[in-house]
């Protein structure tokens, strides 16, 4: 297996992603869309109402998707590319964008499954190239330096001061 790479997202990518998600939300009538990492961390969201708890959401959506992929393996299915949860008022879908990125999207019950597939597939197609090139590494070196390490170390001391 390949060595795990870190995921770095820069301003340019985020701008592109936010535009795509907003557009997707408008054409699809979805109320909530999120992009999360396969390791369970939120990247960005686009929603009509107040955000749900995105940290829990990212963690649960990613693990639920990962479990589904394992199920596919157990059943000798090549892969389940889409995870589908049917609710009373809305349906939730999780689709794979890249090996490190997932798309989470809710639809109203009135939206037909065929349409949902169409919208998500299109979105995945335009989202994928955004993550293909990664020019974020220069920025990493610039920001995550000794100075950052030192300050983070102090912040850890502060957070856990007076514990036990």
């Amino acid at each position: 297996m390949v060595r795990r790479r870190g995921l770095v997202i820069n301003d340019r990518q985020m701008q592109l992603v936010d535009d795509i998600l907003d557009k997707l939300r408008q054409v699809s009538g979805s109320r909530f869309i999120a992009l999360v990492s396969t390791s369970g961390q939120p990247i960005t969201t686009s929603s009509v109402e107040a955000h749900p708890d995105t940290l829990s959401l990212a963690s649960l959506a990613a693990s639920s998707f990962a479990a589904t992929q394992q199920l596919a393996e157990v059943l000798h299915e090549r892969e389940f590319t889409l995870l589908f949860h049917e609710g009373r008022e809305s349906n939730l879908h999780v689709a794979q964008v890249t090996d490190q990125v997932l798309l989470v999207i809710t639809f109203g019950r009135e939206t037909q499954v065929g349409k949902v597939r169409l919208y998500t597939n299109r979105a995945v197609e335009v989202l994928r190239p955004v993550f293909d090139s990664n020019d974020g590494d220069d920025q990493t070196n610039l920001m995550i330096d000794d100075d950052y390490s030192l300050l983070a170390d102090e912040a850890i001391d502060d957070l856990f001061a007076d514990m036990e």
Partner: protein, 195 residues
Amino acid sequence: MPLINFAAREINYKIVYYGCGLCGKTTNIQYIHKKVNPNARGKLVSIATEEERTLYFDFLPLTLGTVKGMKTRFHLYTVPGQSYYNASRRLVLQGVDGIVMVADSQITRLDENVESYLNLWDNLLDQGDDLTRLSFVIQLNKRDLTDIFSAEDLKELLNHTNSPVTEACALTGQGVFETLKTVCKQVIAKTGQAS
């Protein structure tokens, strides 16, 4: 490497509590959830069986605050320790930055500790990771009980990586924050090195 989102000015690290069934992983997370500043933590999510054994994971996000303009978070996870849940353990390990190996100090749990430690190596190697390149802390838990191994014996058994070792009683919280602090600091130090 962690998830770094420059656009949102966020950096997220993933820390996983590993170890055999009933060694006290969930108890660690529950204690942290109970005691840490409420403003610094999110919701505790636990996927467990009726009998409160972890079925998939516990998840607790902690916010360190803004460091050099970057909102810094630690995402804490536990794995299910029972040996037949290995498929789930492998999923939780994806994208991990730091690991706390919780050892059950009881003499009767010797085999389970060793099995879990070897299983951790296997799972990491399978996903292309290596314990020596990640942050790794060993917690000797249940020090309050009698019929336990000495810390020296457990170190010889589990610490081939020469990693930091803490002693704890997760039930009362003793050593829980010391462990967490140690792994968090290591994770930060390793990111610095990587760049």
